[in-house]
Each structure stands twice: as structure tokens, then as C-alpha cells.
Symmetry: C2
Subunit: 120 residues, 2 copies
Amino acid sequence: MLINELSKETGVTPHTIRYYEKFGLIKGKRKADVKSNNYFHYDDEVVYKLELIRDAKAVGFTLSEIKNLIDAWYNKKFTIAKKLAILDEKLVTIDERINQLTEMKKLLSDFKKEVVESDC
Amino acid sequence: MLINELSKETGVTPHTIRYYEKFGLIKGKRKADVKSNNYFHYDDEVVYKLELIRDAKAVGFTLSEIKNLIDAWYNKKFTIAKKLAILDEKLVTIDERINQLTEMKKLLSDFKKEVVESDC
DNA sequence: CACAACATTAGACTATGGTCTATGGTTGTG
DNA sequence: CACAACCATAGACCATAGTCTAATGTTGTG
């Protein structure tokens, strides 16, 4: 599929898709048999990657971290040990973030109680 | 205390403290009885606010959101209802983020299992 | 075939959250 | 009193993650 279709399928604008491509997160291919234009074609793997990017960004990973993750996922040159190292690192980060969020939640809940009780 | 002491106490650089002050997150006071200089003085409330800012930033709140939160905390002009609304909103955000992180954790854990199993 | 809709690249611009530099005045220790 | 260490303001600069514009070529429908 071409960039516009990919954009519609994923909700990521063509601009941002090109930005990600330049960043090395995804890759389109030019068809050798098409000589009249130089359009990039994208497959379902790219769709899945864009969804992964969206999710990973939502939890606060930077594009560089996501690149790392995508390499663990798709780069056949990476050894199993290396892939596991990347995954474990991200899992630790996620746990830390969940802990921080839980603490912040407690802080706000406690303060909320205070505010409610002050109303007497 | 002056800005340098505040910086040492909180680990936030004087530069960033001034940036936060310009942003409206904290406020120093000039002493009326000191005429020879125009130094700002900071009290313990500011120390606490800077710690709150550090924690809130760590969980992904923007400075604008934090400003909001600090207003709920310290702004005496806000009604109790308004304070509770702000707090509830932030609590919802935190829950959403925890859910997203939990999902991402599952995704990575599953993929990790796949990688481990591929090693047979 | 005109013309909209789509494709490409390169480069300028934006917001956020700082960080650094310049300039000039103040305070405290040897 | 020299001089380092400190304070203030203003404005330039940086990275991240886009977003927009310009210039130009291609494709598809009436």
C-alpha cells in the first residue's frame, strides 16, 4: 500500500510516517518493476510497527527507545541474548514507571481525603 | 533561603528554578527590609513544591498540568469542588497510564516468552 | 487533456522543557 | 580592597517530536 492508505489505516499522518521512516523506525520499499515513479510501498508489518509505536509512545517511551524495541522484535541479526536484554531493560523501566504512578496516586488520594475532610 | 541553597536542597539547578518561577510554578519573595540587593528568598513550601514537581514530572505530567495541580494544592481562591475536580482528573489520568503500562508489560512479556521458546 | 489528488525531497517552523551566555550588580573571605 | 562566589535579567541555543511549506513530479477521473 502507498503512504496515504497506510496513513488512513493507522491514523498516523503521512508526514509523521515519513518522519518515522527517516528516523529508521519503519521502511517502505520501492517496486523494481515500477519505473514511472519512485513511490514507497508499505506492508502489514509496517502497520503493526506503527501500532507498536503508538502504544509505546503512549506509555512514555522515546522514539530511540522504540527503535531499540523494534530491533529486538524484527532485526534478525540480533542474538537471542541481546533481544532478551533489551526486553528485560524495558520491562524494568515499565515496572519503575508503574511504581512511580502508584506512589503519585497515593499522594493525590491522600490529599483528596484532606480536602474532603477540610469541608466540615 | 536564597536560590543557591534552594538548589542544593532540592537538586534543581538555579536556572531551572528561575524557569519554573517564570512559568508560575513557584514564587520567591523579596525582603522589604533589604535595600542593597534584589535577591529572592524561598521558604520550605517552595522546597516541597519542587519535590512535587520532580515526582509529577517523573510520571509524565507536563509543567502546565503540574501548575494546575499546585493550584489545587495551594491556591486558597479555589473552591473545594474545583480542587476535587482537578484531583479526580489527575487520578483518572494516572489510572489510564497504569493500564497502558500494564498492557505494554504483557505485550513485552509475551514476546519475551516467544523469544525464549524460539531458542529450542 | 485539465485538474484534483497523490507522491517525493529538502528545509523552515513549532512547542516543551530546559540550558547556556552575556552583562552587570552584591556579598563575603583572606 | 581584591576577588571569588553569588544574584538578577534578557535573550540565544538545544533536543525531541513533530508539523508545515515549497518545489516538483505522477496518477486517475470527468
